[in-house]
Symmetry: D2
Subunit: 336 residues, 4 copies
């Protein structure tokens, strides 16, 4: 941590800051400059809360050097993590994995049809939502436990592991019974209690980036899970909120090479939620793979025009099969 | 809902869209224009999910006229709601209320000292956090149930009702036992399960705006609570996330008159979290009252320089007393 | 400047960075920490361009302590600047000034009517746009030189100094002939050539914040003007671009106390452009004064419902007179 | 245009709005709904300014169907435009073009070296800045006319057409004398006078997206150029401003397929300015091509570690040659 003093800070103010730092059990090292003094803080083992120092008289700015995460950092864990997701390897040098299925589980038939379509086209994990977070209470909220059963049955029929979103701690038992991978949605990325609970489990976790989360916050959220002992975390970029409204969100693809550099965890991309437009999904899916994504999450619905949720961003079975053909070609070109 | 067709949309495409609308049980009314055709959708009782229509061939855009909320809207409920918060009236023409106390509960002594200070200065509700949402797992996470007891005791000693944040459904019983008002924090504004549960309770709810929530999403979140039967919701603006980093968040004060126009619910302002800087709190607190806020939420700590959380934005007892004196003068000027 | 090395940076990498710093004529001071090494850069007289260092091997981050401005900083010029705007004093302890008039000059009659209305109500500077920056080329672009004449005549008739926007260097001569104060609009805040040219003139300058400019960039833009010798700059907050669309922009009122702390230049607020909604203008104007603004800029049109530009955010003469009455009361309350 | 009335709007208010519309020479068509009335506006030939209507009593919202551009729209000009840039074809089905060179022209030798390196590696247009927009006035501002001569000489020596940024109208003559393509930088995207002037010239124009410009504003800026008669516009995405600070800007790659759908103009991508980090440039350059970019703009400097500007995002000659090898492979794979 570096504490930058005002140009006009007095010697007493500088000394008071030094004392405040030392009261925290740390070492304070003044660095006099031509225009102002800065104070280096040494001896901390990790992130230091600056709250008691930031507004002391004479302090202009407090600059953090340590980050609010460590376990997820490649700085301290150089080798890439490969997450075993019910037999599917995600991350490292493994061939990027495609997760596909409908936004929400609507019926047994719909899930079976979707599962067969995505399996036939080459997806390796099946997705489907039983608990749906919706902006307003008057929209379809998902089938709940009934939906989980359809998902499990469809996964078994198609021989695909399944992933589904968990929204609250009390659902964890049920979701763990039916699903292979737990998804934490964007709106819950900073639901820290939920993160801690999934951190105590054995299931792999797919953690989506919050819609206005910085990379630092995203990695700190993953740190919550790792800190409890569960190291099987897959990160997922799904678009961030910006002033642009022509797309549902702004897909931040440069986060992929950046997270590969900063963290050892695998990072996948969801172009369906990011763009909100079916026509953009295939092209952004392929761009994501070129950017280095360890996988993709794509919405596929047997009949998107009848979907109860997010039909506009869903591919149908045929569209998905075409895309998977293109992806196979691209992966080959990329050396997989 | 208005469906805008492409300039080049064919008659078949227009007819297909009409049919899709009618399949939803609604009426479709084409409005031919000089450059393109639009299709008005009539007969809906509320917000219509556009997902199945948005990407049909020939559709350029779908425009919503209905909103994802109704119960919170002033359009349908013109009279302002006054929330009785354990005897303190919030909203309508009542004198704006000041909620004050430390960010986090640290000890029995600290809470008692804070309660006495804020009571003496004129605050009417006591705040204090027992469960703290922190970006990283290595920061202080709050005292939990133990903290709730200190909060209750301090409130009782100072004769102030108390408000505290609840982060998960399982905490609701405990929190309801000790607190008079339940706070839903910004990170949980779209934790819809939690919203539904507090919607089933009798306790008044203080709902903070998510850090990147639009006003529409904010009101839709409140709608979740009202839809379950709990109409005692107080909205709270606490700053939104923008590109600006000189303040912790960007306090969006124009939301106050806007929400007063759009909704009947009371709206208060938290200048402490919004700015993150102690020096800005008093001036923005007063600006909020002039903007029409029904109340304020202000962080006060007996010794901010030793606070375990957010000390830099906390006033000490003396600073708060000075501010309250200024607020009394301002409220008098404003006619209260 | 502080250069933070990677945890795993080698001694050779650290030495190479030191050499690169010294090649810039500066001093490099390594600060070894428990987790990583940082390198303090000393001896610089101002902002240092980090471009050649930021991506050297082993460098994790470069942190700036100096800012890209100095002349505008209160750190180096503690006393507040009072700008004499054709006899009207703006800034310091002077009574806040109200600038008012139509968004665009439409006719001689309209300007005269507006000038008389705003003068009668108590405005002290008249505004009106002759050159209008419009998003698309098919909208009304302003009356040009003809408009400047109407503005001048209206100002003379009402005995008010006038301010108008200048959009290009070649207009400077003409605008200086007719106007007392030059306005640089938000879209031109980083039109650095224009800033330099107005920096060479004697006219006071009203500089609007760019719609996505940080405070640092805003102050650095003002620095361009001061660096050329013109110290008569009035800053103007007019809302920033965020994800929120319910208002035209998000009025960032906390910028007012913050800029008062960081800079000696006066800062005024334009609630009309910030909100884009007539109904919000009065309340936000008053909130701005409480936040410490040195003045206000308010759109007034004799017949807003017939305005060629931005009618929806303009007050009419009557509405403005009511607001000015309220402002007089508020200023009295504030001690002016 | 669709005017949505309040739930409680009276018949008089609805009639007043109809009259206001008709006073504009347009037709107003009421569309009664179950909850509220909307009024369709017909007969307009393009974008209608809503300013006089938006705040009439009883109006809740005004929704635009027409856009503030038409000439750039694919709706009205379905065939893709191929821009001939001094013999290099950009857009349509032509092989994507790579523009490369240093951020700023520093000396004759530097430009010659850069030109030879990028030519040898396969770039087809040379870039270099003579006039540099810098946040603060104390940074290097470019060599001006002298720099243009070096650029021209280097382009001639390497047989490459050259592109350079023009910042003000008075520079146009000089820049046109030395450069083949005129670049309008992000900060000038809404410098409408400059857009109009380049619209009157014969030179092709490279228009960069403003850092907080919506796609609609970006296309409307291009419309300014086309409206004056110059149809040779190449659009360039270079990252937008968001809350994320780990990259310099957030590269918005989904804009590429979206603009290809909305407009007939070619769209290229600048990964250097977007990311600000050399290590991310190659991977994002390739992702941009997969996303459908008609070209790339990449910063290359013979000695990035000594660059006067933006060295951290510049590739050196060797790095660029490696990237071009990869790009050739990728383009082949993509069918070029």
């Amino acid at each position: 941590m570096l504490i930058v003093m005002h140009h006009s800070a007095t010697r007493e103010q500088i000394r008071a800051v030094q004392e405040a730092v030392e009261a925290m059990g740390l070492r304070a090292e003044p660095i006099p400059g031509s225009e102002r003094t800065a104070i280096g803080v040494l001896g901390n083992q990790g992130y230091v809360d600056d709250a008691t120092i930031r507004e002391l008289p004479g302090v202009r700015e407090v600059i953090h050097v340590s980050k609010p995460y460590k376990l997820v950092s490649r700085d301290f864990h150089p080798a890439p993590t490969v997450v075993d997701a019910a037999g599917v390897q995600v991350g490292g040098g493994h061939v990027p994995v495609v997760i596909a299925g409908p936004c929400s589980i609507e019926s047994e038939e719909q899930m079976l049809a979707a599962a067969r379509q995505v399996k036939a086209a080459g997806a390796r994990i099946l997705r489907g939502g039983a608990f749906k977070p919706r902006t307003g209470p008057h929209s379809f909220q998902g089938l709940g436990i009934e939906g989980l059963k359809y998902l499990r049955a469809a996964g078994d029929a198609a021989e695909l592991p399944v992933v589904t979103e968990v929204m609250r701690i009390e659902q964890l038992d049920a979701v763990c019974r039916y699903a292979d991978i737990l998804q934490i949605g964007a709106r819950n990325m900073q639901n820290f209690d939920l993160l801690k609970e999934v951190g105590k489990l054995d299931h792999p976790v797919l953690l989506k980036r919050g819609m206005s989360a910085t990379i630092e916050e995203f990695l700190a959220a993953a740190e919550y899970i790792l800190a409890e002992g569960n190291g099987r975390v897959i990160l997922c970029e799904r678009g961030i909120r910006t002033f642009e409204r022509a797309t549902r969100n702004t897909l931040d693809l440069s986060v992929v090479p950046l997270i590969r550099e900063m963290s050892h965890l695998p990072i996948i991309v969801d172009p369906s939620h990011a763009t909100g437009k079916r026509a953009l999904v295939p092209v952004m899916a392929k761009a994501a793979l070129v950017a280095g994504a360890h996988g993709l999450m794509i919405e596929v619905h047997p009949e998107p025009e009848k979907a109860l949720c997010d039909g506009a961003q869903s591919l149908n079975g045929e569209g998905f099969a075409v895309l998977m053909g293109e992806i196979r070609g691209l992966l080959k070109y990329l050396g997989y």
